[in-house]
């Protein structure tokens, strides 16, 4: 079983079983992971699913697009590891992943 681990800003950890075809955002929304909002449902329009992904996991996901980068640039608490979790799609080959979350999505 593959596990996605969400670590919030207070270091509370929620572990969720990964589902192929879901994104890290939709998996969070469907498992009551507070801290990921996902207002636009994955349209890259809101940046309320902002998370931090360690570089060591980057190769398991598609590269950051121009639109995603532009959205993140002005997202609160942005840093070099910032990603939109709606763009981090899970498939059958995804290994265990840990993402951390900002203290607020606004």
């Amino acid at each position: 079983m593959t596990v996605i681990k969400y670590v919030d800003a207070d270091n509370n950890v929620t572990e969720v079983e990964a589902e192929s075809g879901e994104s890290i955002m939709s998996l969070a929304v469907n498992n009551m992971v507070d801290g990921i909002v996902g207002e636009c449902g994955g349209a890259q329009a809101c940046a309320t699913c902002h998370c931090y992904l360690d570089k060591k996991y980057a190769s398991h996901f598609s590269e950051i697009s121009e639109m995603e980068e532009a959205m993140l640039e002005s997202a609160p608490q942005q840093n070099a590891r910032s990603r939109l979790s709606c763009q981090l799609m899970l498939n059958d080959d995804t290994p265990d992943i840990e993402v951390s979350l900002p203290s607020s999505q606004y």
Partner: protein, 405 residues
Amino acid sequence: MEKYINSVVIVGGGHAAAEAAIALRIQGWEGGIKLISDEDVLPYQRPPLSKGYFHKTVTSAQLLIKKQALYEKANVDVMLGLSVVAIDRLSQAITVSSGAIIRYSHLIIATGAQARILNIPGAELPCVSYLRTLNDANNIITSIKKNSHLLVIGAGYIGLEIAASARKIGARVTILESVERVLSRVTNEQMSRFYQDLHKDNGVDLKLNIGIEEIHAIKDGYVAMLNDGSNVNFDHTVVGIGVIPNTGLAEAAGLECDNGIVVNEYTLTSDPTIYAIGDVSNHPNEFYARNIRLESVPNAMEQAKVAAASICGKPKIYNSFPWFWSDQYDVKLQTAGLSQGYDETVVRGDMADKKFALFYLKEGKVIAVDAINSPKDFMKAKALIPQGLAVSKGKLADTTKNWFE
């Protein structure tokens, strides 16, 4: 009958309803939660119906706002295919279409809005559809084919998005708009012109200032008779001429209604046990200092959380800043704020590049922005406008420097 009941009943099956059900559990509600929807499927996202779902990049499973397993985990009793026919405020109970009576301690009305219906001869023909539900979308998708001719009636967001999606699969598209420009309710003349050019450049036949009088079936299709005496032959039509909030239940129950159900800053109606959230709520907005009703997902989601907080005894005020988005062709529009009442506008960037921001100002302050393929301007504006943003027109227009620094 027991005297007290500890159960929240949510009427509606859209974003606001689904979010409220889960938010109640997240915020600590231990009583019952019932979600009653007149649709026969779990609550789903509506924005992709005209875009991603149309092009099959979003599946029906991905449309679901929350999955079945989550409602089960959160112990939410989801009752589908049932409509609520009456609210009895005195005994705090609702009657549903099956005849059952369901009691509530708190009621959340999230009934949304319905498409305004075209009222002309021929409007009942099978070629006429509206885009509000998944069924509507499935019907439209099977009716629009490459080389078929789609007639779009009304150039609002729904009409323009479906036009763009139909062009993408190679359908012929004609848009009819009764006033002199597209998106006239929400943008200024420059932005309307931008979208008119965008659709024309993509091969849409756009007819402004024109009304439709009748639709008739003909051999191999349909014909629309227009008020300038001309006709358009077509295969299918999508009508997007606005929505009407579903206030019937609330009005019959004597709740205060005025372009929606009137609520306070806690989303509470004129009855202390009844909340109204989402597209149906007419709520106060502090920044614009007036009551507004929004047709928007972010509004529905946030109001759901605000209602849940009150019900859980941790009241918070709804004070989110309105925002919207629309995807058409290669253009992403992100709007922050409401432009109504502006006295000046400034364009930052070159409209011909399809990458610019149009700022709306009132008495020297920015009140809204329409950002075209400019997410950074949108994000900054959305965060800064609510704080009272006074930036000179020169600085807003100067693309060599950031306007927000």
